[in-house]
């Protein structure tokens, strides 16, 4: 009995230890840095805690921590708030586009003959076999003024060679990049929700006098909502902090918090401000994350 209890405790401890070591501890380090001041030193901030210097020194260092960086980030003069807003906006629009593109694909997959569903699922996951970075670079080759898209349009005579479509380095390119990269994260939860739906429910709806299109809105759509929420949050949350796509495909005026954070960190070399930006980003995202958690808990309860 005792060994059984220990075994259960160990199994439960693994995920908690994992979260503690790889999430909570790094977060606390970042949080501490966000409360420090920039300094020309190694590491480039002050104060640093050193237990070897004793309790008094520790207390002294603690007193030096301040929320000054947060005030800086949250001031209207410094474009950070604008970057947060712009990130949320771009992530929101992208999520809606992802849903519009992903839902029909997931629906088609879930209604496809059972024998070909695994193949379709494979095809959705297939892009992951190539590095994310390379796939985003590939879009430069497609969208640039001399890129594949423009060449195709030239050869079809749709546009003239003098005025190629300016897509690269615009927000449009960022939307294309996000929709392309995050599509599997939208499709998979939608597919899971749609696939487990009992198709006799649609027969029952038809039997009770409901034509197919109305049956979609009354039966299929509400039953797929858990998948819709899961897919949207899975795409929205990382899209807010996205850095690679706006950096490679976006223009100089594409303002996203991931890019700002990166500039703050490696160009301005301000670890403290970038830490504050990161902590605030996390706090902004806590709302949808908690919402997602609640949703998951409700789903589990329903079974």
């Amino acid at each position: 009995m005792a060994s059984k209890a220990t075994g259960r405790w160990l199994v439960l401890a693994v995920p908690y230890l994992w979260l503690l070591a790889l999430f909570l501890v790094p977060f606390l380090i970042v949080f501490k840095i966000s409360l420090s001041q920039d300094a020309i030193a190694q590491p480039p901030y002050l104060p640093t805690f050193d237990l070897a210097e004793g309790w008094a020194a520790f207390k002294e260092a603690f007193a030096e921590l301040s929320f000054e960086n947060y005030g800086y980030v949250l001031s209207w003069d410094n474009e950070f708030i604008e970057a947060y807003g712009s990130s949320l906006w771009i992530a929101g629009i992208s999520t809606i586009l992802l849903l519009l593109v992903g839902y029909p694909i997931a629906y088609g997959m879930a209604r496809a003959p059972k024998s070909i569903r695994p193949t379709l699922l494979m095809l959705v996951i297939l892009p992951f076999w190539t590095s994310f970075l390379i796939r985003v670079y590939a879009w430069i080759g497609i969208l640039s003024p001399e890129g594949l898209l423009n060449q195709l349009l030239f050869s079809l005579g749709i546009i003239s060679r003098d005025s190629p479509l300016q897509i690269l380095n615009t927000d449009t390119a960022v939307y294309i990049g996000i929709v392309y990269s995050y599509l599997p994260f939208m499709i998979l939860p939608l597919y899971a929700a749609l696939e487990k739906m009992d198709e006799t429910l649609l027969e029952a709806a038809a039997d009770l006098g409901c034509p197919p299109f109305a049956a979609f809105w009354k039966i299929t759509w509400p039953l797929s909502l858990p998948g819709v929420f899961a897919g949207c949050l899975l795409c929205f949350i990382p899209a807010v902090g996205e850095f690679v796509i706006p950096d490679l495909l976006g223009g100089s005026d594409t303002l996203m918090i991931g890019k700002v954070l990166w500039t703050e960190f490696s160009v301005n070399r301000s670890w403290t401000v970038s830490s504050a930006v990161a902590v605030l980003l996390l706090m902004v995202l806590v709302i949808p994350i908690v919402f997602y958690q609640n949703l998951q808990a409700r789903e589990v309860e329903r079974r």
Binding site: D198, T200, A206, D207, L208, G209, C210, P211, I219
Partner: protein, 391 residues
């Protein structure tokens, strides 16, 4: 397809429920007509050139093993499948090509197919809302349906908060709410336990009588079909084998298949000796020295090989020979005994090695000399206990 035996003899075939019999009335117009309906799925023929008439207010059962085409036959009426050939009419209107949402039939699904995101109330109201019924009328009808299935207190619950029996009632209420011309029941009680199933069978019959609707039930459970139905169609491989009242199906099966599928039966091979009006004399293969006399008209000729179907409850097993010389008698040895409480089933091995089953009710708690293993016994049955089957 009726054998016509009832008219000839003084006796009637037992257990007829009521005098409702529009199928015997040449004036009656059937509500549902299947005319030469064939349904193929690729190479597989699910329904094979089948014609069937079902009358208004009838409780009609389609009975058969899985894969016999009974569900396909029902789904064609609901509109989920279209026949490959033939015509289906409901109240004189050709149904082929009409989508399910425009048909005046409603179905109670085997899985119940309740909408999981809607309350009991909304499930029942769903079909009424499709008809754009007034709000007040919908409320009244839903209340009425909830009362009918005794679920008034559960109106706000979601299906996953109900027991299996309650879900079954919601499904029934939902399919009845629109007052369809025909209610289709696809194995409606399959998921319930035995006690609840039996109760529900009688409730279904009451509801059908009360609402005066036509019910078409698909089942593989012959007891269920016998209990609820006015008529039963026994199906095999996409064809109707026999369509008749439950008692006729049981007491006068028209083939080995029906005799075997409905109820417990002994089938003994025999050769016809003489055929007189109302009486056939046969030589059983299992006991060639014996002669069995079966009281029925028979189309077979002397010398034909036929089968005798004998229900176990119509055979007696005794240690002493019968006093009445008119009965058919054969000697055998007890091979096995199944004690079921209310009855005991004796498996008797006849001299030729054929085994027959005979049921004996346990009328008293104690018996002086019970029949036991390896006893030499007499198995006997009266001439009107058996049926000669020529196919």
């Amino acid at each position: 397809m009726s054998t016509g035996v009832t008219e000839k003899t003084q006796k009637t075939i037992g257990g007829i429920r009521r005098t409702f019999a529009p199928w015997n009335d040449p004036q009656a117009v059937p509500l549902i007509r299947y005319q030469n309906v064939t349904k193929r799925f690729g190479e597989f023929v699910a329904v094979d050139n089948l014609s069937l008439d079902i009358y208004e207010r009838e409780f009609f059962a389609l009975l058969g093993p899985s894969g016999c085409g009974k569900t396909t036959l029902m789904r064609m009426l609901a509109g989920f499948e279209d026949p490959t050939e033939g015509q289906i009419t409901l109240a004189g209107q050709d149904l082929v090509g009409t989508p399910p949402y425009k048909r005046q039939t409603n179905m109670m699904f085997q899985s119940y197919a309740l909408f999981p995101h809607m309350s009991v109330w909304d499930n029942i109201a769903f079909g009424l809302k499709q008809d754009r019924m007034e709000k007040g009328a919908i409320d009244a009808r839903v209340e009425e349906m909830l009362k009918l299935v005794k679920l008034e207190k559960f109106a706000k619950r979601k299906p996953h908060q109900l027991s299996g029996g309650q879900r079954q009632r919601v499904a029934l209420a939902r399919s009845l709410a629109k007052r369809p011309k025909v209610l289709l029941l696809d194995e409606p009680l399959g998921a319930l336990d035995k006690k609840l199933r039996e109760e529900t069978q009688f409730e279904l019959m009451d509801i059908q009588m009360e609402l005066g609707m036509t019910f078409l039930i698909v089942t593989h459970d012959q007891e269920e079909a016998m209990t609820v139905a006015d008529r039963i169609a026994v199906m095999n491989q996409g064809r109707l084998v026999q369509v008749d009242q439950p008692a006729v199906i049981y007491e006068h099966p028209n083939s080995r298949y029906v005799a075997d599928f409905v109820g417990d039966v002994n089938i003994l091979d025999a050769t016809v000796e003489t055929v007189e009006p109302g009486m056939v004399t046969l030589r059983p293969v299992a006991a060639p020295e014996r002669r069995f006399r079966i009281a029925q008209d028979c189309a077979a000729k002397p010398g034909d090989s036929v089968a005798i179907a004998l229900r176990p409850e119509k055979m007696r097993v005794e240690l002493d020979p019968p006093a009445d010389t008119n009965v058919n008698c054969v000697q055998g040895e007890i091979w096995d005994i199944g004690y079921l409480g209310d009855l005991s089933i004796y498996h008797v091995e006849l001299p030729g090695g054929v085994r027959v089953k005979a049921a004996k009710p346990n009328l008293t708690r104690m018996v002086e000399r019970p029949i036991t293993w390896d006893d030499k016994v007499y198995v006997y049955f009266s001439p009107d206990a058996g049926v000669v089957l020529t196919s």
